[in-house]
Every structure is written in C-alpha cells, then in structure tokens.
C-alpha cells in the first residue's frame, strides 16, 4: 500500500518536473524599435468547421458561416484601417470554402497561419502528416507562401519537419518562450494566448461542445474593460498581449466597434508594437535565441 502510494507520488512529481522543463522562458524581451509591448491580434478562422465536425444543427453552422461571408471582411477592414498586421489562423478547408477572403487577407499583408486541415488532429501519424501538408498546400495555393506558424495540437516533431517555427496554443507564461518535447527536442517558439482574452469565452454558446445552459453571455462594454486592463498590465510590465478572435463572433458589428475602441486606446500609449505572430517568433529566434542548446 505504502509502496504503491510512494510510486504514485514519485511518478506525479516526475511528470510535474518534466512538464515544467519542457519550457524555456525568455527573460526580458527587447522588442523592435524599443517598443514596450508586442501585440498579436489573432483570428481563428474556423467559421462553421468545428460545428460541422461535431455534427451540429444547420443554425449552428449558419452562425459560423457569418464569419466567412461577413465577419472576416470586417476584421480585415478594421485591421487595415489601423495599419495592423494580424495573424489569421486558417484551417485548410476554409481555403476551399472562403478562398476570396483568405486571398484578400494575404494581399493586405496579414499572416495566414495554420489552424489544422479541418480543425482536428488525427491520431494516426500518417493521416496527421497528410492533414498538415494539405492545410499548408491549401494556404500556399491562395497566398503564395507556406505557413510557418500554427495554432494546433499537431505533434512538434511533425511541425519541425514541415518547417514550422512557432505554435500559439497555450498559456504557460504571459510572454513568448521556447517549448520542446520531454527529451528536449523539437524546439518551437510558443506564443501564448489565454482564454480570458478570447472572444468565444464571452459571447458564444456551445463552445468546446458545452451546452448553452453552461454558459453566460456578456456584452462588449464589459469585455472592453477587462481586455483593456489586461493590456495595460502587460504594457506596464513590458510584455506581450495575444488577442484571440473569431470572425463569426467578433465580426458582429457591435464587437467590431468595441475592438475599434480598444485599438484606439492602445494606440494612445507609447511603445506599442502590432506585429504578426511570425514577426514576434522570428524576432525571438534572432535576438533571444534559446540557451539550452541546439534542437
């Protein structure tokens, strides 16, 4: 009894240490031009794919469809109007459903990054590789450029092999850091985002397959103040702010107006750098390379 408990505690402690050891923090980051904060506006262009994957009702799909026919165009107009280069995490299939919007985003100078082929990562390694390549091919066909970043659960080894340099997928730290596998291999830049700065958590029913009754809706005035407080906290500490939007959610007129106010406020503060995720990842690799040896 005691032995098995000891073994269990030992195993849990090892797991905790190994997991923490997978991340290499970057100390104080010197942003380009002496900026005080780097801001990544990111949009997960899922439209209706996740709803389709979960085999949900036509009205759920139509809710997502708003993102493809209306919302994405409004976000592009908002970013372009402010001279902000954003990162659009785009599932490969979306390139086939909304080719005009994806091409327009690339033409405006936004980064088109990977968000899986059909918003899932298959368990079978061959199929996973096939999906990642299909997604990259689809993006390259429309934009002329293969993605170097992803927001996904893809295997790090596969991402490295396919030329990816970053994943924007978790909240292990406030700022960019390096992630590796448990044995220290397959290093990628990690660009964290947090659900607290994610529109879906405030405005959307049935996210992550949860039922409407499990959620509360909010309003843009309230979210504006929360996000503004988050931004100012990071601005004071010389940090990083990654905002996760969804065209079908934030593309609604009331929320575009809210984002416009947020950006206006951000621009009032000194030293705010709006770059793409690829810009931030490349800056980290060039100016703050990993210290833990090659991988």
């Amino acid at each position: 009894m005691t032995n098995s408990l000891e073994a269990e505690i030992e195993a849990l402690a090892t797991t905790a240490v190994t997991e923490v050891g997978r991340y290499e923090p970057i100390g104080k980051i010197h942003w380009p031009g002496g900026a005080q904060i780097a801001v990544n506006f990111t949009a997960d262009f899922d439209a209706m794919l996740l709803r389709r994957l979960a085999n949900e009702t036509p009205s759920q799909l139509a809710k997502g469809e708003f993102g493809g026919r209306v919302g994405i165009w409004r976000l592009l107009e908002l970013f372009d109007g402010h001279g902000i280069k954003a990162t659009i995490f785009t599932p490969g299939r979306i390139c086939e459903l909304y080719p005009q919007a994806v091409a327009a985003a690339a033409r405006s100078g936004h980064e088109i990054a990977d968000h899986m082929w059909e918003h899932r990562v298959p368990k079978e390694p061959d199929l996973e590789q096939d999906h990642l390549r299909k997604a990259s091919d689809a993006i390259a066909r429309l934009t002329g450029r293969r993605p170097c970043g992803t927001r996904s659960w893809h295997t790090p080894a596969l991402l490295k092999a396919e030329g990816f340099i970053y994943n924007s997928h978790g909240s292990v730290r406030h700022g960019p850091c390096y992630s590796t596998t448990a044995d220290g291999g397959d290093r990628l830049v990690e660009l964290p985002f947090h659900y607290a700065i994610d529109d879906a958590m405030f405005y959307n029913f049935a996210w992550l397959q949860s039922e409407p009754g499990e959620q509360r809706l909010s309003d843009p005035d309230r979210v504006l103040e929360m996000w503004w407080a988050g931004f100012r906290q990071q601005h004071r500490s010389g940090g990083y702010f990654n905002i996760c939007l969804h065209p079908f959610i934030s593309g609604r007129a009331l929320r575009i107006a809210m984002l416009d106010k947020l950006i206006e406020r951000m621009k009032q503060l000194p030293g705010v750098w709006f770059g793409t995720c690829a810009d931030v990842a490349r800056h980290c690799i060039a100016h703050h390379p990993p210290q833990r040896g090659p991988s």
Binding site: T57, S59, K63, E65, L97, A101, E118, A253, A257
Partner: protein, 312 residues
C-alpha cells in the same frame, strides 16, 4: 461534396455596407420580433409550460405592457405565434392585427420539427398555416423556428428540409437566419438556385438568454448586459446603415426593471433620424424587389475536393 452543401447555406461574400438601400433612402432598418411562445424546450409548448405563472403573464399583463411600450412610439412589429397560442387567444390575435402588427408562424406549438419525417413535418406546417389563417383571416407569410431556453443550441432549428417545405407551402420568408445580420438567401438547392429569404436573428439580442438564464431561481439575471448589447449593436449598425433586430418575450422583457430597460432603449432608438421600423413581410418585400436572388445571389462554383480521411 456538391457545391458547399452541409457547410454553407448562402453565398460566399455578404453584401457590403455601401451596397445596402432601404426605402426612401432611410439610414437603417429595424425589425422587432415579439415571441408569444412559452415553450421551455425542444418538445414545444407542454401543459406544464402553460400551467405556470410566466405563461399567464405572457399572454396577459406582459403582452399589454410590451404593446403599450411599442405603441408609445407607434412601432409595428412581427409577432411570432405558435398555432396553439392563436387558437387559445383568438381575440388577442385580432387585436394585434388591428394595431398593425404582423402575425408570423412559430410552428404548431413551437416544437423542434427537424428530426421528423418529411411527411409529418409537412402535415404540421399545413395545420399551423390553417389554424393561423382561420384566426387572422390570411395565411402567414413568415415562419419562425426560434430557440427555446432549454434547447441544446441557441440558434433555433431551421434546416434546408424545413425551408423546402415552407417554399412548397407558400411562405415568403423564414425568420431566424444566422448567416448574416441583414436579410439573406437560404439556398436549398444549388443547381436550381432554389432559395428562401431569411431574416437575421442573433441570440445576443434575444431577451431569453439574459433573463434568469438558464433557469428560474438561478439568480442569473443579466438584463443590463442585454440592454448594452442592444445599444452597442444598434449604434454600430446605424453607423453602417444596416439592420437591427431584437426578440422580445412578454414574460421576460415585460417585467419591471427589464421593461424599463426596454423603454429606455426604444426611446433612444426612435430619437435617431432615418429609421425604417418595419414588419417581416415589409422587409421581405423590399429585399426581394431590391435584391432579387436571380441577380444578387452569387453562388461561386466550389473548389472543394473530397479526400479519404477527411470530412466530406
């Protein structure tokens, strides 16, 4: 996959702000929907729904209060009515029509028909149409499949099969489309371009998700958030020259503090110049003549390919 079936119901790019025209060059259109159902879940109105205080309030004092609030500004609305409700309160229906409001169908008893066999759904649409026609004197032109508080999804239960049956039954428009925030076409067949006009719906402007949601006794009263959502959307859409829509239930929006929020919002709204506050059929008529699907539904050929190991 033929075209984009199973993924999209309308064309690839929505209409831009600059291309939107309202009658007499008005700045924006407003569509207010009064939902007279007391159904709490997908099965539609039950006896236990009806044997409840909110049900009594909804067709009594609550409706009186909402109508008075609308009347103060001479606002004409669309009333979404389950056939059973019309049958129970025929004189109420005639009052609504006399006051200039439009009656649209909300199913036989506001039930989810999406999993019924086609013939069964057809029968229910016909019964609904017959009952409403008898009471109101004319067949309804609009059909709603609005969500209920206990639904697993918050967008309602329209689908292409229902739209197809509604076209067959002579309906002109469907009331709860989510793919745009202006009227848009719901395509049921790509090859023949068979489609129906859908008027926009969005759950952030539907009182039921902010009034003791998810259920009574929870204390989860967020009517202040509802009012801020209405205001933020109205202001943003006014600037764009587009469309504002809200869904009101007497049992939710009609209750003291919420009623006051509604009255404040409506008073601010009507103070803005250039509004076109219209019923569903007026909006549908304008849209179908200004943007007929033959010229304005732009269905691009699909570049989609099916692959093994991928969803089709």
């Amino acid at each position: 996959m033929p075209w984009k079936n199973g993924y999209t119901i309308s064309d690839e790019v929505g209409l831009a702000d600059r291309d939107i025209r309202w009658p007499q060059a008005r700045q924006m259109a407003v569509h207010i929907v009064l939902n007279l159902s007391v159904a709490s879940g997908p099965e539609g109105i039950t006896k236990s729904d009806l044997r409840s205080a909110p049900a009594v309030f909804a067709l009594g004092e609550g409706l009186d209060l909402l109508l008075a609030a609308l009347d103060r500004h001479a606002l004409k609305v669309t009333v979404a009515v389950p056939a059973v409700t019309a049958k129970a309160f025929p004189s109420r229906m005639r009052e609504l029509i006399a006051a200039g409001h439009e009656i649209a169908a909300l199913g036989l008893k506001h039930e989810d028909t999406s999993s019924l066999p086609r013939d069964e759904e057809r029968v229910r649409i016909r019964m609904t149409t017959d009952i409403l026609s008898q009471i109101t004197g004319a067949p309804p032109k609009g059909w709603y499949a609005l969500p209920r508080q206990r639904d697993p999804f918050a967008g309602g239960t329209l689908n292409s099969a229902t739209i197809d049956l509604l076209l067959e039954a002579g309906y002109a428009w469907a009331g709860n489309g989510l793919a745009d925030d202006i009227p848009h076409y719901w395509v049921t067949d790509f090859d023949s371009r068979r489609s129906m006009l859908a008027l926009p719906y969005y759950y952030h402007f539907d009182d039921q998700y902010f009034a003791m949601f998810p259920t009574k006794g929870s204390g989860l009263e967020n009517s202040d958030m509802l009012a801020r959502n209405w205001q933020a959307e109205f202001d943003a859409q006014y600037k764009r020259g587009r469309f504002f829509t809200m869904v009101l239930h007497p049992q939710h929006a009609g209750w003291c503090n919420r009623l006051e929020l509604l009255e404040t919002f409506l008073a601010g709204m009507v103070a803005r110049p250039g509004l076109w506050v219209a019923t569903g059929s007026d909006i549908a008529r304008h849209w179908q003549s200004t943007y007929p699907p033959e010229t304005h539904l732009r269905l691009e050929p699909s570049i989609w390919k099916d692959y093994p190991g991928s969803l089709s």
